[in-house]
């Protein structure tokens, strides 16, 4: 130990080696590097290196009109692009003094839950994928493709949708959409049963996730932990329930909680989230009106000067609190748009701490269990 309490690593002693994991990513995260110092098969020091997906989005926003920011913002987290659309649209509406119609709120909520469903269909089996359990990933991606079919039907796009825009949404549900979605949801129900048998009841999966990557519940506040990672530590955090937006207060659901606070608990929370999301989509389709205005009147978006002001808007993504801090200076261009994504705290300070004393074979499992998504760190 050095005077600063940190480990003195002498690579020439042959007790330690440096291993770089990445920037190729281990499955479902995204490109980032981990600089690992290894002793035997134990990690003794870890540093995250991001920047491989930095495209300067927040800088670009300052040179673009609000509406021109939409095609850019959705790329800040590819697996769940709709949270970006929602936050940017809601922040613009709040600063611009626009109230959206009731029908648009239902449709936004549907799009956000569909986005959560397709994201969870990747990450739930993806956790097993980090341990070589690849078949679950194939099953999940099959059902995800079906949900992307519905997205294509609703919005014209599969991954990036551009459906939520300032003032409302771009279109009503196509005829027969609810019935086709119900068919897909039945497949998702079956996937939930299958993945429980395949992954959650698998002895190897249990052995490699129970007690691994433990997060002390007291770290939730000190590290800014949100979403499923906080809920797996027994802490109730869900923006949809804590700060109800759109019509979430009209839906019936509760916090999905576990107390193990290890990889298994986080996987279990995500599985419960998956079941909840399937149920929420059914509730939304049953409760939403058939018709209604879908877009409020807005000024010409190419000449829209947003009054001076600032706000922070947030939503619950599949990975937790996802927010935009927005500052307007009275011009047609945003002064500042700053994304707060869960990975900023989960995948940098928290991951670096969790990897200490971890076995090198568990590194990618821990990384995936935190919901790592590097583009939202780099923006």
């Amino acid at each position: 130990m050095g005077a600063d309490g940190k480990l003195d690593v002498d690579l020439d002693s042959q007790k330690y080696i440096k291993v770089w994991q990445g920037p190729n990513h281990p499955g479902v995260t995204g490109n980032m590097s981990l600089e690992l110092t290894i002793s035997g098969d134990e990690v003794v020091d870890a540093k995250t290196h991001v920047g491989y997906l930095h495209r300067g989005f927040e800088k670009l926003f300052e040179r673009r009109k609000y509406i021109q920011c939409f095609p850019t913002c959705i790329r800040m987290c590819v697996p769940e692009a709709d949270s970006n659309e929602y936050c940017l649209a809601t922040g613009t509406e709040e600063l611009g003094g626009i109230e959206i119609p009731d029908m648009a709120k239902w449709l936004r909520m549907l799009a956000l839950e569909m986005a959560r469903l397709q994201a969870l269909l990747r990450i739930v089996p993806g956790q097993g994928g980090t341990m070589g359990l690849g078949i679950g990933v194939q099953w999940g991606l099959y059902v995800r493709e079906l949900i992307l079919d519905r997205f294509e039907e609703l919005t014209g796009g599969r991954i990036y949708h551009m459906y939520i825009l300032p003032g409302g949404v771009r279109g009503l549900l196509p005829d027969g959409f609810a019935a086709r979605m119900e068919d897909n949801l039945k497949k998702a129900d079956q996937f939930v049963k299958d993945i429980q048998d395949l992954m959650y009841n698998n002895a190897v999966f249990k052995k490699r996730t129970n007690g691994i990557g433990y997060i002390d519940p007291s770290w939730v506040d000190s590290f800014g932990i949100v979403g499923p990672v906080a809920r797996a530590a027994g802490v109730k955090r869900d923006v949809r329930l804590d700060y109800p937006y759109l019509h979430y207060d009209k839906l019936e659901f509760d916090y999905n909680i576990e107390t193990g606070s290890d990889i298994y608990a986080r996987s279990m929370v995500r599985l419960k989230d998956l079941k909840t999301t399937i149920d929420l989509i059914r509730q939304i389709l049953a409760k939403m009106p058939d018709k209604g205005d879908i877009k409020a009147s807005t000024p010409n978006v190419l000449h829209w000067k947003i009054p001076k002001g600032e706000t922070y808007v947030k939503s619950e993504s599949s990975r937790g609190e996802y927010g935009f801090y927005m500052v307007a200076d009275g011009s047609e261009f945003p002064r500042r748009i700053n994304l707060r994504g869960p990975s900023y705290t989960h995948a940098v300070p928290l991951l670096e701490k969790l990897l200490i004393n971890a076995n090198i074979s568990d590194v990618s499992s821990i990384m995936v269990s935190l919901g790592t998504c590097p583009p939202e760190i780099e923006r």
Binding site: V50, G51, H54, G56, E58, K59, L60, E62, R63, R64, K65, Q68, E94, W219, D221, S222, F223, G224, R237, D242, Y243, N300, L302, G309, E310, T311, Y312, E321, G323, Y325, V327, R335, R336, N338, R340, Y344, T345, V348, P349, L350, K353, E378
Partner: protein, 177 residues
């Protein structure tokens, strides 16, 4: 939320109180009192969740705005603490001792805006950019287009359009210029 702001006012000098929403308020305070204020909010008012630290460059006025966004998970309210520092002497007291993730925000801000946070862990290590030797890129005076033209070779045959003009000509071809 108003009660919390009244409590703040009894201990700290704050101005420009804006109740943005029922559960979201912004206040401005001086550079010297910003860190004591957020420490007090964390320890005595239950703002235990640190959402983010953000910077806004008001280059025409010669200031950087630092915004510390805090959340009280029990009362379910958000509070933004704004403080302004001179661009000429871009330095701020570090808050890394309050929440673990603050050091990461400060490290990024040092790289992107050139604001120093003395004592903050790894603040001088590059975060996203390796070997950057130009103006900190998130400062308003840094021109991305000019940098690209200066740094990268133009591709022959490539046509560029001003996005706003091009979009307008496509969407509203009959509208007067």
């Amino acid at each position: 939320m108003k009660k919390i702001v009244e409590n703040i006012k009894t201990r700290f000098k704050v101005s420009d109180v804006i109740h943005q929403r029922e559960n979201m308020t912004f206040v401005t305070t001086g550079k010297e009192s910003a860190i004591p204020l957020i420490t007090w909010l964390r320890d005595y008012e239950g703002f235990s969740h640190f959402i983010l630290l953000s910077t806004v460059d008001w280059n025409e006025d010669g200031f950087f705005q630092l915004t510390y966004l805090l959340n009280n998970p029990v009362k379910k309210v958000d509070l933004g603490i704004r403080t302004f520092i001179l661009r000429k002497n871009a330095e701020m007291t570090s808050a890394h001792h309050l929440w673990e993730q603050v050091a990461t925000y400060q490290r990024e801000i040092k790289e992107m805006f050139g604001i120093n946070f003395p004592g903050s862990p790894r603040v001088d290590e590059s975060f996203l950019l390796e070997g950057w030797d130009d103006v900190p890129p998130m400062r308003r005076e840094f021109d991305t287009k000019e940098y690209s033209e200066k740094t990268f070779f133009p591709r022959p045959g490539r046509e560029s359009n001003d996005p706003a003009t091009y979009m307008k000509s496509k969407l509203y071809p009959n509208e007067e210029k």
